[in-house]
Amino acid sequence: MQGEPSGPLGDEETQEVPDYSSDYVVGQDNIQPFGLDIHNPVFVISGSAIVLFVLFTFAFPAWAAENFGDLRLWLTTRLDWFFMGAGNLVLLFCLFLVLSPLGSVRIGGERATPDYGYVSWVAMLFAAGIGIGIMFYGVLEPMNHVLHLPLGAEGLEGEARRSLAMAATIYHWAFHPWAIYSLVGLSLAFFCFNKGLPLVIRSAVYPLFGERIWGPVGHTIDVLAVIATMFGLATSLGFGAEQAAGGIRYLFGIQPSDGLKVAIVAVITALALISVLRGLDGGIKVLSEINMLMAIALGSFILVLGPTLGILEAIWHNTVAYLAYLPELSNWIGRDDDYYMHDWTTFYWAWWIAFSPFVGMFVARISTGRTVREFILAAMLAPSAIFIWWMTTFGETAMDQYFLQGFAGVADTVRNFQPELSLFVFLTEFPLSSVTSVVGIILVLIFFVTSMDSGSLIVDTMTAGGKIETPLTQRVFWCVFLGLLGAALLLGGGLSSIQALALATAFPFVLIMLMMMVSLFLGLRAERVLLERGDAE
């Protein structure tokens, strides 16, 4: 190990400004068994822990279901203040960075240029992150909230009721999750591309721990990140396959047997493997752009054939409603709408945070060349705008179907909580519903493929000590492992139990995020000083 952060810069004046770079060389703790290139001990501990947790869940399914279920309940009901408070703090911190002079620091150094244009960048952000949510919740969530209004506002009627339902939906998908991903992504990007630290989660808290971060503390952080990512992706894949099978039954009448679900996982894994082998630009980037175009086409189809003028007006009204309700929805004190606040908001917040190492690292990987200000504004505003447009288009149309046309199909999927069916039931009210439904299935499939591909990329980087030039075999291994994990959980039961464990990782990650905020502030402040002195790269 190489001593404390290399702060002292020579003369007395510069000694006060640490530069937070390290002599640690990426991959220096790696070992090369069987031609692989893996970090010792993060790879072995995280891989073993994942296998042991899953075997334990299979061996004691009832105990796991009960206790991990209780853990999930405790997290979402007792820690509402913790997750919601942290989400608010992160959002305020991001706004502070945008407005402060620290926002002018450029990721990758002053002369760095962006690797990707805004369109590709946003498409990849979306596809690797929570984009799949638009498929399952775009129709279901607004309808759910309009039927079970939050904030104890059950008395609201008409436009006011619909506005609150839309604001409550947008609240979960707009600024807060993207502020969380911006913080993690920005922290990693800054300490990796500006300070030369490895692209692993521990690097983002280097200013607080110094060289000790390359020891057990850092191992723990990275192992947690790997477990959160693997469990989060595997359970998403498992639930996604169940939902896709449900959709296929609805559309084609094929019974959703275990064989069908495993076949869906196998197809997604096989496509993800092809994407992995084609690399970042030939795989994820291309698929993300295809997905973006298909989503725009589907959204435009609904916009044109739905209540076009009403939707266009509602985009503005819902944006204003979202901003107006934002303080109230963000406040956990004195609320009695437990269903909305715990089953939806706190669950979402924990889920976004559990996914933040994965999404944040992926965002960092593709984000050099932008200033901190550009990074946050683009990462928060563009996806938020897309979500507002999408949720308004689908949500307002679904509410029109229910309130004005008397079609209760979507409302029934809400009452029965069948997110996999909401979109397809909704589409039956439009022409060419068989075509649009197939487009919907393809979109879901591609979103899963890009998530698995980017997940494999990130888990490989995490377990290789931040090394990017690793043998491709490792990424293939993680992709296949993810597929096997998803299939095993589907067949052996335990999807909910393992999902609860993924959620549980959000608790320590909130603490890590709080440390990231302090670290990033210290790092950017020092970078500004070094830039003014001409000492930074």
Binding site: V25, G196, L280, T368, E469
Partner: protein, 143 residues
């Protein structure tokens, strides 16, 4: 003393920046096969974004390779030039980037150090095997 036999006018040596100290056998072999009327031997490496296992980043990577080229020229009496290929995802596209570089320089012989096949190489080929099965160039693997 140069070996008798065929000489090559346009050669390339792919190198790992983190293992430049192991480059000597490839440099010596290429120098021995170099045609005095030929172009400088191209030392080429592929790097990704972010910190590298060599501990070098950005322009320092170019400088390290250039230093090796200068040193090799002095020791072997053969001209060398350098090419640093920057890829977004070098693990996946590094071999294709190398092949594009070879094509751009119209390379007729690639000389590279290679490891003995490991377990993982049976699933996905290492750089040498990939080039042997995908590149139109002659390839000399040194172990």
């Amino acid at each position: 003393m140069r070996a008798s036999g065929p000489r090559y006018a346009r050669m390339a040596i792919p190198l790992d920046l983190a293992e430049l100290s192991l480059a000597d056998p490839a440099l010596a072999q290429a120098a021995a096969l170099w045609d005095p009327a030929g172009a400088p031997i191209v030392l080429v490496t592929v790097v990704g974004p972010g910190p590298h296992a060599s501990g070098l980043s950005g322009e320092a990577q170019d400088a390290a390779l250039q230093a090796l080229a200068d040193d090799a020229r002095a020791r072997f009496g053969v001209p060398f030039q350098v090419a640093v290929l920057r890829e977004h995802d070098p693990a996946a596209t590094g071999d294709e980037a190398l092949e594009r570089c070879f094509a751009a320089h119209d390379i007729d012989l690639v000389v590279m150090r290679s490891h003995a096949p490991a377990f993982s190489d049976h699933w996905l080929p290492a750089h040498g095997r990939w080039l042997a099965t995908h590149s139109a160039r002659s390839l000399l693997l040194l172990r």
